[in-house]
């Protein structure tokens, strides 16, 4: 690519995307005028989601291609700035857009592990991987493993690991797509999944990486606008300062002061909180007693407890002036009574835990690793560090992100594009903690202390959508909302901010479109990674190296379709545990890829045996630890050094590094050709000897 053509291309891109951004803002303004004219909310939601999805499809169709380099790496001419935006959209998933602020709201300082992990990882990408992978300049990450370590075994392990972590991650995205479409358009969850899937496919199917790149840039613009507008509005409302990132320190102080009041029983508000907490304490004790009874008596105890409930119903029937509500509640208690000891145990355990959470004092938002005693605090700190490490190294090992750095024009551009990526990503991650604090302030001051008869409208609106997202119950029957009586699900924070701030509905629709853009763009990148691994690495490199271009692309597209339908099918089964899926993807990627990739560049001595040992060992350790500790699998073995299953990657990485190093040292050094490849990768330009380098 010659200089002048590329710079014309860049200025053209800038013009297009400036026009596009202006057009999008105009579209939002137009819709808000429509809203003022009385167009119903549901209609606005349809228009908003419909238009954005059609827009992505349009870009996908315009970018269709049948050229291999265009299909796999967007022709390697994506400018650093735009690749940065594309990485941003590729990177920020439904979990970042919708979940992160909620996690921060619920867990305060400890939630910052995600903020740190999901940004700091790009330092590793920039320093250890991106420029070298760009110089290598093939199509996939297994390509690098195959060339560096030789033979098809390292490549195959790479393919397996790439598909494993991308697939766990893509399920979480499609789930997010289904959730947003169903919630904002009223379509069924399953239908929502397939509608979302259709738009993912239109983008990647016709134009591969090229279409995905230009769609992701467009999606970044929408998602960042959608995230910023409500937060800026909220910030102006509370502080008069339109820059929330600067202003929320002041709000945080007020939140901290409010926490102290609510925790102090000598104040009127604190006394009411204490009253509610005492009730929860009592409920926790009841649940614990039942658990103890169950442990001692087993099925007999269960039967006795049920008998008691049945008797209550009979007694109520016997009285002639029974309150029908009371009777209904008693009947429900009998109907819902656990049928066996296992269900009873897990349900009562859950009840006891929820009640215990509610009976404790309000957690201080800004306090790191809060806990009642030194052991708990140390434990939290250790897990915080482990999680940060896993997320960071996982970031530097997820194939769909690393692949994006193949698409820049040069090594220099690759370095610059990591900078732009991190810049664009940080915009959102710096805003999320501000949003959490601002929303918390609203809940602590406006909702808490208000009267049950005059709840803000967003409370009842969301409570009617989903009880786990929002519920308020008058536990102590005083008619006033106490903090302990409010249950808020993390996902509510971002989705409901526009309503909390009292913004027009069109902003709510914008936020939904932003969430959809985040989920779709990540899903696009992941799907492409999976189908490319299969078509390029398995089919072209291992099965039929002489396959003509046309057939390679055909296979690739067919696989994409197959993967998409399979992923949608799995998602429609609602496997749940979304956060675990996302966390698992990071730990798996960190264990499988990072040691072999980084050592492959920085240590010439690393060889095939080492790579195989490290990758298999790392991956196996990580999967094994997840299997034995994650409650879902039911093994429930004791934790190693108290590390939570989500951070299984710390063990996987350690084994991975030891494996690569030990395996390499025990066997012969790699041949001259491989060592030359390492040199080739290390220098942006080794072949030309510029005599007149410095003037």
């Amino acid at each position: 690519m010659a200089g002048p053509t590329q710079s014309r291309f860049v200025s053209q891109l800038k013009r297009y995307y400036a026009l596009y951004t202006g057009g999008f803002i105009g579209f939002v303004v137009l819709l808000s005028i429509l809203e003022q004219m009385g167009v119903p909310n549901k209609m606005l939601g349809y228009i908003f989601l419909g238009v954005t999805v059609l827009l992505y499809a349009g870009i996908g169709i315009l970018s269709r291609t049948s050229d291999v380099a265009e299909y796999y790496v967007a022709g390697r001419r994506v400018p650093a700035f735009f690749n940065g935006m594309a990485v941003g959209a590729d990177w920020m998933s439904a979990a970042s857009f919708i979940g992160l602020a909620g996690t921060l709201y619920l867990s305060g300082y400890d939630g910052l592990a995600f903020v740190l992990g999901w940004t700091g990882g790009f330092v590793l990408v920039a320093l250890l991987l991106a420029p070298y992978l760009r110089k290598f300049g093939q199509f996939t990450i297994p390509d690098f493993l195959g060339a560096r370590y030789g033979g098809s075994i390292p490549r195959s392990i790479g393919v397996f690991a790439a598909i494993l972590c991308s697939f766990t991650y893509v399920i979480a995205q499609i789930y997010g797509v289904g959730l947003i479409t169903s919630r904002f358009t009223g379509l069924d969850f399953g239908v929502g999944v397939f509608v979302g899937l259709g738009s993912i496919l239109v983008c990647s199917f016709l134009g591969g990486m090229r279409a995905v790149t230009w769609t992701q840039v467009a999606q970044y613009v929408i998602l960042i606008l959608a995230y910023m507008i409500p937060v800026v509005w909220l910030s102006v409302k509370h502080t008069g300062n339109p820059i929330p990132q600067v202003a929320y320190g002041y709000v945080l102080e007020k939140v901290t002061a409010r926490e102290q009041v609510l925790n102090d029983p000598s104040t009127p508000d604190g006394a009411r909180e204490a009253e509610v907490r005492a009730i929860f304490k009592q409920r926790e004790k009841t649940a614990e007693d039942k658990l103890k009874g169950l442990d001692a008596g087993g099925a007999t105890y269960l039967a006795k407890e049920k008998e008691k409930l049945v008797k209550t119903v009979a007694d109520l029937h016997a009285e002639h002036d029974t309150d029908p509500k009371l009777l209904e509640a008693a009947n429900r208690a009998v109907a819902e009574f656990p049928t066996n000891a296992a269900t009873a145990r897990s349900r009562w355990r859950r009840e006891a835990e929820t009640d215990r959470d509610k009976s404790g004092p309000v957690m201080a938002h800004a306090e790191p690793f809060a806990g009642p005693d030194e052991t708990t605090r140390d434990n939290k700190r250790k897990n915080f560090m482990a999680l940060v490490l896993c997320l960071m190294v996982g970031t530097a090992a997820l194939p769909h992100i690393l692949m994006r750095f193949y698409t820049t024009t040069s090594v220099k551009e690759a370095r610059h594009s990591v900078f732009w990526s991190l810049f664009f990503i940080s915009l959102l991650y710096i805003t999320a903690p501000a949003l959490a604090v601002l929303a918390k302030y609203d809940v602590y001051t406006l909702l808490v202390g208000s009267s049950f008869s005059e709840l803000p409208s967003w409370v009842s609106a969301w409570a009617s959508v989903d009880k786990t997202l929002m519920s308020v119950t008058d536990i102590n029957h005083d008619g006033i909302v106490q903090l302990a009586e409010v249950t808020i699900g993390g996902d509510l924070i971002v989705l409901a901010t526009p309503e909390i701030a009292g913004l027009p509905y069109v902003i709510t629709a914008l936020v939904a479109a932003g969430g959809l853009a985040a989920a779709l763009s990540t899903a696009d990148g992941l799907m492409l990674t999976i189908s490319n691994s299969l078509s390029h690495d398995v089919y072209y490199k291992m099965i039929d190296p002489h396959a003509p271009t046309g057939r390679r692309l055909f296979i690739s597209k067919a696989l994409l379709l197959g993967v998409a339908v399979f992923a949608a099918y799995i998602t429609s089964l609602k496997p749940g545990h979304i956060l675990f899926l996302v966390g698992a993807a990071f730990s798996l990627a960190a264990s499988a890829f990072f040691p072999a990739l980084a050592l492959g560049i920085f240590w010439k001595r690393a060889n095939k045996t080492g790579a195989i040992l490290g990758m298999v060992g790392g991956l196996a350790t990580c999967m094994f630890y997840m299997y034995i500790t994650y409650p879902f699998f039911g093994v429930n073995a004791p934790l190693w050094w108290d590390i939570n299953p989500i951070s299984a990657g710390v063990f996987g990485m350690a084994v991975g590094f030891v494996g690569v190093i030990a395996g390499s040292l025990l066997t012969a050094a790699p041949d001259k050709e491989t060592q030359d490849l390492v040199d080739h990768v290390r220098y942006p330009n080794l072949d030309d000897d510029f005599k007149s380098k410095v003037s």
Binding site: M1, V115, A126, H416, P684, V694
Partner: protein, 87 residues
């Protein structure tokens, strides 16, 4: 491909730069994180310092680290004549 002395120097300098930046990354993330409880009484721009670092300060430092690396390596490429053509 035979490496020349200047190539080895280039790589050494790259390694040194990478090492220094990684050390800063490590201190900012893990050392400050480890002592977060001890830093919360310090106030910075109205925030407790540990919260500020986790929510904002570290991120700004990461952006600067990556930006500086890109800038410094461009210069190093040209100094040692290993830059790419067509720029």
């Amino acid at each position: 491909m035979q490496l020349q002395e200047r190539h080895k120097q280039y790589w050494q300098k790259n390694l040194r730069l990478t090492g220094v930046l990684l050390a800063i990354w490590f201190v900012v993330t893990f050392v400050l994180g480890w002592f977060a409880r001890d830093l919360q009484s310090v106030t910075f721009l109205g925030f407790p310092l540990s919260f500020y670092m986790g929510a904002q300060g570290s991120l700004l430092i990461y952006v600067i680290l990556v930006g500086y690396y890109a800038y410094r390596m461009d210069k190093l490429d040209r100094e040692y004549g290993v830059q790419e053509r067509d720029l």
